[in-house]
């Protein structure tokens, strides 16, 4: 199976309005990531831009709608579309989420949580095996940002992910913002989560901004909003991860209230500085 072949550099989630800025002044950008579902039309500007971008940068295709965590079977028509997209562009990486988004034929356009039990783990493993068999490549599975817990959960998220990796041979996409958001939301420790996370299987890192709210009791509730700069505590966690694991492909996601290219580029420069610092240290 093809492994994630992204360079250990910084990437950005591609927005069409950044095409000119990104291509004229890429700065440290080594790869771009696109949401698979935005490139499932027959033709037009999206495919022309993606073809051009992939001649300049490595490409990560990030699925947001496969609903790997669904109770029902995978949407085979959608899986076939993903296969066509991967066959056409031969991206260096394909990733999806530990979440569900479809039920009973309705697509809910959000990454929804699932309980962590032996039964849900078996289902996830079956689905990932099917995705990997169909695509003929290793999938990176992303840890979710969650706002609620399930009474029936019996397995820690890190153990759940580690066992899915062991059983399916998939890799992981570590979203450091999601770690911070979920840890805050569940009153747990983000450093403890990262200490338990199987970093050796991480093929990509995500960084993004979050929004702040409070829950029913006034306790902090963070929202994975992707509409602002990466927060300082998330940068600090990212530093710890890279110090431990060495440089990894690192993506800046900014999907809402999309900034100008120079603002997004400066986030990428900040991430690249962390990678460079530890690249020099790991080489020394």
């Amino acid at each position: 199976m093809t492994k994630s072949l992204l360079p250990a550099k910084t990437g950005v989630g591609f927005k069409p309005e950044h095409f000119d800025g990104l291509t004229a002044d890429p700065g440290p950008i080594g790869f771009v990531e696109v949401h698979a579902e935005n490139y499932m039309g027959d033709g037009g500007l999206p495919h022309a831009q993606l073809t051009d971008l992939h001649q300049r940068f490595a490409l990560s295709v990030h699925g947001v709608a496969l609903s790997i965590g669904a109770e029902g079977p995978l949407n085979r028509a959608h899986l076939a579309r993903l296969r066509r997209l991967c066959d056409r562009y031969q991206p260096e990486s394909f990733s999806e989420h530990l979440a569900w988004s479809s039920h009973g034929g309705a697509y809910l356009n959000d990454l929804l949580p699932l309980p962590y039990t032996a039964a849900t783990r078996a289902r996830i493993c079956d689905h990932i095996a099917e995705v990997q068999d169909t695509l003929g490549r290793r999938v990176l599975l992303e840890n979710p940002a969650t706002y609620i817990a399930f009474a029936e959960s019996t397995i820690a998220e890190t153990d759940f992910l580690a066992e899915v990796v062991r059983r399916t041979g998939c890799g992981l996409l570590l979203d450091v913002n999601n770690v911070f958001v979920s840890s805050t939301n569940h009153g747990t420790s983000a450093p403890d989560y990262l200490a338990a996370f199987p970093l050796e299987h991480v093929g990509e890192i995500h960084l993004a901004g979050h929004a702040e709210s409070v829950d029913d009791t006034g306790a902090p509730l963070l929202i994975d909003a992707h509409g602002s700069a990466v927060a300082d505590p998330v940068w600090a966690l990212f530093e710890q991860v890279i110090a431990r694991a060495g440089p990894l492909p690192t993506l800046i996601e900014w999907d809402n209230d999309v900034p100008t290219w120079p603002v997004l580029r400066s986030e990428a420069v900040a991430a690249a500085a962390v990678l460079d610092h530890h690249s020099a240290r790991h080489a020394a």
Binding site: E37, G41, I148
Partner: protein
Amino acid sequence: MVSDQAIFAQALLDPDHPLPPGVTSHTHDAPAKRFAVYRNNVVVSLVDALAARFPATQRIVGEEFFRAMAGVFARAHPPRSPLMMQYGDDLPDFIAGFAPAAELPYLADVARLEAARTRTFHAADAVPLRAEDFAAISPESLVALRVKLCPGTAILRSAHPVVTIWAMNADGGEPGPIEDWVAEDALVSRDGFEVAVRRLPPGGAAFLLKLSNGATLGEAATAAMKETAAFDLTANLAGLIGAGLAAEIIDGKGTSS
């Protein structure tokens, strides 16, 4: 038995539905505000997607009205496909039956035009034929030919001045009074990677719709003339070529030239 995710999905779309069983948190065992984050994400993301696809429709009714209408639509008609570029294909029909919008009878057609624009934007690429490709064809043989239209070519017939209303409310447009309230037929087509919207001349819609159904140029012209004596075949053919609508000329035996 209703599955856990069926109950969860139901509760997401219905704000009056109780929290799904088993949903909890470390601070509170009935975390309504936490569950509301998911409810909000689902409906707001769907409404945002519709607002992005139907900007002129939103400008006509105002943001508050549009988002309320889109919210009603989204809860009743969540997407049936994970391709969000298709979401809202059936919003125009919903608008046509949406009582609070009844005093704007043209609104559904503006939405139809906007829905068509997205489909055209994502249509397959094609290199349209040029005038030179038609130059060698004699007028006598022309009528027996069929013309395959380029992907993304859409014709919208309206009882309202839909193109004028859309253009006034599209990005860069300036809404104003419409002196000459006449029916307009719209042509939506690809111009490179851009989407072009044109007002069709008399009979133009009947002509292009016939062609897209596989009629010969002669049959299509006859149908258009039956609809209006003002139909001008030469001008419509020039318009078809000029707008880059012709993908292929097929002779009477069904072979391409």
